[in-house]
């Protein structure tokens, strides 16, 4: 499938992930997240974004990657998933890029979850395209909604 894509690309554990810009509301600096008791571990808690309370998901934990200390590049990507705003903690946002003639291939079977809808070549790098709805609402272990 060849199409034109505009992606917010961020890195995590030396891999690149992308979200469609239409799904990204804003990119915020890391702020104090209030933990909420008795929730799956990948839900980091809630954040006060200008008076609005948003749930915050840690992408590392969601993708079952090893945890890492927060750094100056850590960002919260505010994603719009089915009318619900959710913050996604990522290691760093690398760029917002237009990819013309993007070739999106289906995610390889070895991809651990259904959070990734496809993979796309961008320069030297491979970018995994994330599906926010799957990411936030699908069951943590099976990836099935």
């Amino acid at each position: 499938m060849v199409s034109k894509l505009q992606l917010v690309v961020f890195s995590l554990e030396r891999e690149h992930y992308g979200l469609d810009t239409t799904k990204v509301k804003e990119i915020a600096r890391m702020e104090e997240v209030t933990p909420i008791p008795r929730v799956p571990s990948y839900i980091e808690g809630v954040l006060n974004l200008r008076g609005q309370i948003l749930p915050i998901v840690c992408l590392r934990k969601r993708l079952a990657l090893p945890p890492r200390q927060e750094t100056t590049t850590t960002r919260i990507v505010i994603v719009d998933a089915e009318d619900l705003k959710v913050g996604l903690i990522v290691d760093a946002v690398t760029e917002v890029s237009d990819i013309t003639n993007a070739v999106v291939t289906p995610a390889p079977h070895l991809a651990t979850s259904s959070f990734v809808t496809g993979v796309c070549q961008h320069g030297e790098a491979l970018v995994s395209l994330l599906d926010p709805v799957q990411l936030f609402f699908a069951d943590a272990t099976t990836g099935v909604k």
Partner: protein, 644 residues
């Protein structure tokens, strides 16, 4: 095709009319001699007929037409106000409501089997037709005798009238019923398509007097003024230039607009945010001042912040008021319910409503609908005796149910009271024992009010027969649950053979509550003050063990102790949780052990959203002055997860 906006306006109006009809029909059944009521009912049926026809809702218009016919006969005294007649009218009303609901849901009518409803209604018109035939013939002759006269009717709609096109169409229809329209300025098509300002002029031939025309038009709520000028006989007849002028109707109606609930909700949220930002500002300024940086600018800012605080406070109050609706909107659905139920149970009931102007947050009004319905049904089913039984007991045959609302400090109190047989404590005790809810020994220790409160236990119902609406024992516990949900409470006063009263206390509003902030380790939580019965420092020497659980005896009541940290499964910490917050939900009491009490304050409740729906222990979250988010605990949910 009608626009969405028109449809919404039509539905708003239809809703208003249907509600008013429901209330007035019940009133009319009780006081058939009241001309004022029958006129209003007739007018409403007429209006809804006209507006639904204009919108193309033929089923609705048809039903309204048949209702109007029956009402017209009733008004002229050609049919008697019997219960079957009112049942037929109420049947028609139910049909209107059903169709309106469909239109609301899908934007158009679907197909209906209205044969029964229509037959029920037209049965009355045909009965009357026979007896009325002679009379009608007589009136026709008299009408024939009168010569038609030409009138000029000048109609001005209110400045803010909506759906002017439809409105003018309805008015023209009304006039057509009285005579023949010969001229219309602007033309009728322009009127229909709203190509006019506020006024239009109609010339018509009619045998009715000018006052009849102005009365008919003036009754419409959207008409600001009407002037009828008699021009005289139509061409060819003798002319009469005497200009009759009817009293101009100057309206002093309350000015109001309808506001979408969601818009109000949004406004409320924005004001909530404004309050939070104001708190933040005050917080930062306080820090600046303490840090000794109180130069001139900081002083000015402090003044601004204070002023801002006052204004936001007022704004919040006003918007809060806008969210309030009179409880009449809920109470007014009860006369119909009581009427139908009284008929079904063959009981005689007088329903008294009082304090209907009492205002309450609209969310709360929605939430208490079902519990109130349940209590009123219970009063009829289990409270009131049958008429013969009442007479035997020396009571009036007609039972009395009072639904009253009033303000009490920051609460609204609603009482549901009947003069029936009262609650039989022995029967309650017996049932509770047989269900294994309490032991014989526990029963002996219970106070009278504790015994009465047993009726809120799941599964307990003292009714001997199971009826279709109540008496299945699933009701009272749900009543309590639902009232708990909106932060309300319920008390029972009951005297055998004299009657029972349920007293419900509700908060005025849900959006802002007083809360106690507590800390567990580094985390802060808010507890609604309404659920906190007391706080104290924990004296370890007083703690007793009952079945391996730590308890404390507080005023002869055994209160189990739990660590909030354990309940919420927070990481272990070393600091001693030696502050106790005793919380209660319904009859259950628990002592929560926390590290620190941080004080009381007003907080704005914000929803946590779908991510946290499984967290029953959380009622939402709030944002403190320093921007921190603090989860608000729901005591009922907390107790529920504790017992798992």
């Amino acid at each position: 095709m009608v626009s969405k906006e028109y449809l919404r306006l039509f539905l708003d109006e239809a809703e208003e009319i249907v509600d008013r009809l429901a209330l007035n029909l019940i009133l009319l059944e009780k006081h058939p001699e009241e001309q004022r009521i029958i006129n209003e009912v007739f007018r409403d049926a007429h209006t809804i007929k006209g507006s639904s026809a204009a919108m193309g809702f033929t089923h609705m218009a048809g039903v309204a037409h048949h209702m109007e016919n029956v009402l017209s006969l009733l008004r002229e005294g050609q049919v008697s106000p019997t219960p079957p007649l009112f049942s037929a009218l109420l049947g028609g009303l139910d049909a209107l409501r059903r169709i309106k609901h469909d239109v609301y849901a899908v934007g158009h009518e679907s197909t209906y089997d209205l044969a029964e409803v229509v037959a029920g209604l037209s049965g009355f018109s045909s009965v009357a037709a026979g007896s009325a035939a002679a009379e009608t013939a007589a009136t026709d002759t008299s009408a024939g005798d009168a010569h038609p006269v030409t009138h000029r009717v000048e109609i001005t709609l209110r400045a803010h009238a909506v759906m002017k096109g439809v409105r003018s169409f309805i008015l023209l229809q009304s006039l057509r019923e009285l005579g023949e329209i010969v001229r219309c300025e602007p033309r009728e098509r322009d009127l229909k398509e709203e190509r006019f300002d506020q006024s239009f002029v109609v010339e018509m031939h009619t045998t009715h007097p000018a006052s009849a025309l102005s009365d008919m038009i003036g009754r419409d709520g959207d008409v600001d003024g009407v002037r009828v000028v008699t021009l005289g006989a139509p061409p060819g007849a003798a002319t009469n230039q005497a200009e009759k002028q009817s009293a101009q109707r100057t309206d002093t109606k309350q000015h109001s607009v309808r506001v979408d609930v969601n818009k109000l909700e949004k406004l409320m949220n924005l004001v909530g945010e404004l309050v939070l930002e104001r708190n933040r500002l005050a917080n930062v300024l306080g820090k600046l001042e303490r840090a000794g940086r109180d130069n001139q600018h900081v002083q000015v800012l402090l003044g601004v912040s204070g002023q801002l605080g006052r204004i936001t406070g007022e704004l919040q109050q006003e918007i809060m008021k806008a969210r309030m609706i009179p409880i009449a909107q809920l109470f007014n659905t009860f006369p119909r319910l009581v009427r139908d139920l009284a008929h079904a149970r063959q009981k005689q009931v007088e329903l008294v409503l009082s304090g209907t102007e009492t205002e309450l947050d609209r969310t709360i009004v929605e939430e208490i609908r079902d519990p109130l319905i349940h209590l009123v049904r219970n009063a009829l089913d289990h409270g009131l005796e049958s008429p013969s039984e009442r007479v035997r007991l020396g009571k009036p045959a007609e039972g009395r149910v009072v639904l009253a609302a009033s303000h009490e400090e920051t609460n609204v109190v609603i009482s549901v009271k009947d003069d029936g047989k009262g609650i039989d404590r022995e029967a309650v005790k017996h049932k509770a024992r047989s269900l294994g809810l309490v032991t014989e020994e526990e029963l002996r220790g219970l106070s009278d009010s504790q015994v009465l409160n047993l009726i809120f236990a799941p599964g307990l119902s003292t009714a001997r027969t199971v009826s279709d609406v109540s008496g299945r024992g699933v009701g009272m516990d749900i009543v309590r649950t639902q009232l708990d949900k909106v932060g309300g409470s319920v008390d029972i006063v009951s005297e055998l053979k004299v009657g029972t009263e349920f007293v419900i206390r509700l908060p005025l509003t849900l959006a802002i509550i007083r809360a106690l902030l507590v800390s567990v380790g580094e985390r802060t939580f808010a507890l609604p003050i309404a659920a906190v019965s007391e706080t104290r420092k924990l004296d370890r020497a007083q703690v007793r063990l009952i079945q391996q659980r730590e308890c404390l005896v507080i005023r002869e009541q055994v209160v189990p102790l739990v660590s909030l940290s354990d309940v919420l499964q927070l990481p272990k910490q070393n600091e001693a949780a030696d502050h106790l917050v005793v919380v209660s939900s319904g009859a259950a009491k628990v002592g929560l052990m926390v590290n620190r009490l941080l004080g009381e304050q007003e907080i704005v409740i914000k929803p946590l959203g779908p991510f946290f729906t499984a967290n029953r222990e959380l009622a939402g979250a709030t944002i403190l002055g320093d921007g921190r988010v603090v989860p608000i605990l729901d005591v009922k949910g907390l107790l529920a997860i504790m017992n798992k």
